[in-house]
């Protein structure tokens, strides 16, 4: 910043730094608290919370959770759908956006109208539910894949803005060399759009990984449960137990199995099971996003500012 270092300036800098440090602590601490509590002996935790470090360190809850077949099956559903949808939907959407970005595309205006309408009008939950049923996707693994293949028109707008940054001369010379639209897309446009594709892939992956709505609305089998859904049921079960309200809809075999790992008076309690599953389920996203951070600005802001 410009200006001399007056007393007021220095006071401001110090106060500002303190505020920022406080905000960082407030943001991170809940997560840290979950980590240390899940790595602490469960019975010891009942005596009082841990603050900075586990009092009696143990991997017991983590080991128990990671060996639980119900949780592993939920993890497999989550991992496979995330990988599947991210890879296909980015390609699918990027391809749509490429065709859409060509000024000589026939009926371009109609596609635009179609896209914008889909952004502002939606049938809502119940009509979607009937559609999913009608398509025989209800309680079917493919409900996690097929409806999510197209990444939405908003992503098309972002991609379109990024494609515009590619010089026209490149397209022209490729055309003159007789390149087909497919090869222009694959060999020219995709390699030049890596940052935005990376950013959109991350957003898609995070969205799918964190989604529990699809499971809640469109499935009922236990073997289609995702990690987030399983943890949600775990939370709801323990809060129901604490509030002594017995709700039949909360009995879920996978949750009961997970809770049966708790030994009552031992190292593993329902609390540490809960926290360990929560921490484990968020590790992939927590590990990934700092590396992906540089793409956010270059990829997406560029799109939204230019668009």
């Amino acid at each position: 910043m410009v200006g001399g270092k007056s007393l007021g300036d220095r006071t401001f800098s110090v106060t500002n730094t303190v505020i920022m440090v406080v905000i960082m602590i407030v943001t991170v601490y809940p997560f840290w608290y979950a980590i240390i509590s899940s790595l602490n002996s469960g019975i010891d935790l009942q005596r009082g919370p841990v603050f900075l470090w586990p009092r009696i360190f143990t991997w017991a809850s983590w080991r128990a959770v990671l060996a639980d077949p119900g949780l592993l099956s939920a993890a497999w559903i989550t991992i496979s759908r995330t990988a599947f949808v991210t890879i296909i939907s980015i390609f699918y959407t990027a391809m749509f956006a490429y065709a859409f970005s060509r000024p000589y595309l026939k009926w371009r205006k109609w596609y635009m109208a179609l896209g914008f309408t889909s952004m502002y009008f939606s049938g809502g939950l119940i009509p979607s539910f009937l559609l999913i049923n009608w398509l025989h996707l209800y309680d079917n693994y493919w409900v996690y894949i097929i409806p999510s293949l197209f990444g939405g028109f908003w992503n098309v707008i972002i991609l379109n803005a990024n494609y515009k940054a590619i010089p026209d001369a490149l397209f022209e010379s490729a055309k003159l060399d007789g390149a087909s639209e497919f090869s222009i897309f694959l060999r020219l446009v995709l390699p030049l759009s890596k940052p935005v594709l990376a950013a959109l892939s991350i957003f898609t992956a995070v969205g799918i990984w964190n989604d529990y709505g699809t499971t809640l609305y469109f499935t009922q089998s236990n073997d289609l449960q995702t990690l987030q859904y399983l943890i949600l049921k775990l939370l709801q079960t323990s809060s129901a137990v604490e509030q002594l309200s017995s709700s039949a809809s909360l009995s879920n075999p996978a949750v009961s199995e997970l809770l049966s790992l708790a030994q009552g008076q031992g190292e593993i309690t329902s609390r540490t099971i809960e926290l360990a599953s929560m921490v484990i389920a968020s590790i992939p996203m927590v590990v990934m996003y700092p590396f992906a951070q540089r793409f956010f600005i270059s990829g997406v802001l560029l799109g939204s500012v230019k668009g």
Partner: protein, 318 residues
């Protein structure tokens, strides 16, 4: 590129590119997405007919078209329901207070962050404050449910041991805390992420304005107020327009995680009610009617907010 080049390119371009092969290739590329949009965004619109009909779930998809019209009976049913107005109050209360608190706090955070000189410290703050955005609401909500637990939660432990309260506070089971809980957790989760757009707008402000202002003797706060704030005005207006049009849309994923049978009086919002009436009680027609009302109002609010923003600040979304 000069104008004559552009013209030449256009003519040549069309001659070269508008042939049948090119158009077929493009159609093949755009086709799958168009099918997805039609199937998953347009077909459900037919389902909205249910809002004006007496619909029996057993009649399936065909029933959407064959069920008898009941005019506005579904809507009358909604307005006569004693649960309806409290729900509207919860929905509007959480969203309105959430935006009134959330937008200014996010802007202040972005302004303060913008004043941090060290780039390393700045990016460290950003990385750390992005963290909650990448956690799901199940996890983030679950963390707070654990922290606020009356028996073992650290917050109640501190409050009791510091003698600030006599009894642990029932943050999750007492309805009077729910709005605050929803608003604060939402704010904390997206504080860092929400600041990105404002920071980008601030980076676009002409630096020479700051220099000129400080030569004229404007202090730090004056510069913030008279240069930075007007610079982020268009971004702010877009955020306000989105907030206004989303006034009836609660974040279902958040509310549903924090909701339980005891805090229901303060936590039942339109979105959770649609889920409950529709998918748990199978009143498809009533649930669709609520959904339809919500989306129509959202569209009206969007257009209205955009119009107002254009009138007042000359910048808007469209």
């Amino acid at each position: 590129m000069n104008p004559s080049d552009k013209k030449r390119k256009k003519q040549k371009g069309y001659a070269l590119q508008s042939d049948l092969r090119t158009q077929t290739e493009l159609a093949v590329m755009i086709g799958p997405g168009v099918i997805s949009i039609i199937v998953f965004s347009f077909l459900p619109l037919f389902g909205l007919l249910m809002a004006f009909k007496h619909y029996d779930p057993i009649s399936g998809v065909k029933g959407i078209f064959t069920s008898p019209w009941n005019h506005f009976d579904n809507f009358k049913l909604i307005f006569d329901n004693f649960q309806f107005w409290p729900m509207v109050k919860n929905t509007l209360g959480i969203n309105l207070i959430g935006s009134l608190v959330g937008i200014p706090v996010t802007i202040i955070f972005a302004l303060l962050l913008n004043e941090i000189v060290s780039t390393r410290f700045k990016s460290a703050i950003q990385t750390i404050t992005y963290l909650p955005h990448f956690l799901s609401w199940v996890i983030y909500g679950g963390l707070y449910i654990t922290l606020l637990n009356p028996q073992e939660g650290i917050i109640n432990y501190l409050l009791v041991h510091l003698h600030l309260v006599k009894e642990p506070l029932q943050f999750l089971s007492d309805p009077s805390y729910f709005w605050g809980l929803a608003i604060v957790t939402n704010l904390l989760k997206d504080l860092g992420w929400g600041a990105i757009l404002y920071l980008a707008a601030m980076a676009g402000v002409d630096q020479s304005l700051y220099e000129a202002a400080s030569i004229d003797g404007a202090g730090r706060f004056k510069r913030m107020f008279h240069i930075t704030l007007p610079g982020i005005m268009p971004t702010l207006m877009i955020m306000i327009i989105f907030a206004v049009s989303g006034m009836l849309n609660n974040n279902f994923t958040q509310i549903y995680v924090l909701q339980n049978s005891l805090n229901l009086p303060a936590s039942q919002v339109l979105d959770t009610y649609v889920y409950q009436t529709g998918l748990l009680n199978f009143q498809f027609d009533v649930a669709t009617a609520i959904g339809l009302m919500k989306s129509v109002l959202a569209l009206v609010l969007l257009v209205g907010a955009n119009y107002a923003s254009k009138k007042i600040t000359k910048s808007g979304l469209f």
